[in-house]
Symmetry: C2
Subunit: 206 residues, 2 copies
């Protein structure tokens, strides 16, 4: 089965499995089962086995999965067996928090540059970064050959900055702005709008 | 069709439709079509029509959807035709950013109280809030009858705080901590882990 045939919904679950497996590994565990992993992530054992079977035979009947082996495989499949440079655009409160976030280390990502268009912020030091002028975005991204960006600008500016990012070669955008982005085929966007997450839950509340 | 029969994946798309419709409304538009909405959100017109048909007949053949009417219906379905109080736990960089975020206003939510367990942070003023002691979480939530929380504590503390929240009556948790939470049936969790979003995209990168 080629990649293009694996539904994106399955791809979306792999990072969750990986996170849970690394958590188990940190607790000193060596092996796990689809049952145990399923309880950790709230997904049925059958679904996990089906998802993983898309990519090969990773477990042995009766002995379960080697956690280290499965982590290695998932990192390979998700291409986070390397470290990707990521630029962050928009140094408001959210961009600030992301620039200082320590959670990317060891999970495949490294923030390499941060940008803002506000003259009062350009040149400011945030964590280990100096805020660069958004006007230099295209040049900086091309020079460093960056493929991934996090977008933390206000909604009104998001599409225009996304266009700049794509033109400069970015192919994956994690969008914190509460707006849908129109991007060409071959560019991927994931959305992190807290209100969307909240509204998805209120539906179920009494 | 009763609520329980509507797949959660459909519920998950409704807030995205609502966001796009409000964007259209803000631009002064009065009506739209499933085609136009589909282009905005990157979902096929047929899928949108199918999703909305779960809840009734909202559009007229040939004339499309009244944006104001559809916004009203979606707000009603998602129960954001009211304002929900939300508590935020964990006043690190991310919690700080959320406490100061203006994007919830008018989308159904109002942050009402913020908490941290660090004595250095308790009593601090953040935006319009005074940080309260996490030990008072249960009492404060019961007193104010809050159902929704955002969890911005470190991964190692997340499950324990989630237990406190659930015990106090919280039924929906937006979790920023990079860890899966185990919660009883009837409690909803949505996850906002940026690394999961990034890893879902690197799969597709060359």
């Amino acid at each position: 089965m080629t990649k293009r045939e694996t539904p994106d919904i399955i791809i979306g679950r792999l990072p969750v499995y990986l996170r849970a497996l690394r958590h188990m590994e940190a607790q000193g565990k060596g092996t796990t089962s689809s049952q145990e992993l399923g309880e950790q992530v709230g997904i049925s054992a059958a679904q996990i086995r089906k998802d993983l079977s898309q990519f090969g035979e990773f477990g042995k009947q009766g002995t379960g999965y080697s956690i280290a082996f499965l982590i290695g495989k998932l990192r390979e499949i998700l291409k986070v067996d390397r470290v990707w440079d990521v630029v962050v655009v928009g140094m408001g409160d959210m961009g600030h928090a992301i620039a200082r976030y320590q959670g990317f280390a060891d999970r495949g990502f490294r923030i390499s540059q941060v940008f803002d268009s506000d003259p009062a912020k350009i040149g400011e030091r945030i964590g280990s970064f100096v805020v660069q002028d958004t006007r230099e975005l295209g040049t900086a991204i091309r020079k460093a050959d960056v493929r991934i960006a996090m977008l933390c600008v206000p909604a009104a500016a998001a599409q225009q900055v996304a266009n700049q990012l794509v033109e400069a070669g970015v192919r994956a955008i994690l969008n914190y702005a509460p707006i849908n982005l129109n991007v060409p085929k071959g560019v991927w966007v994931q959305y992190l709008d807290p209100t969307v997450g909240l509204q998805r839950m209120t539906y179920y509340l009494e």
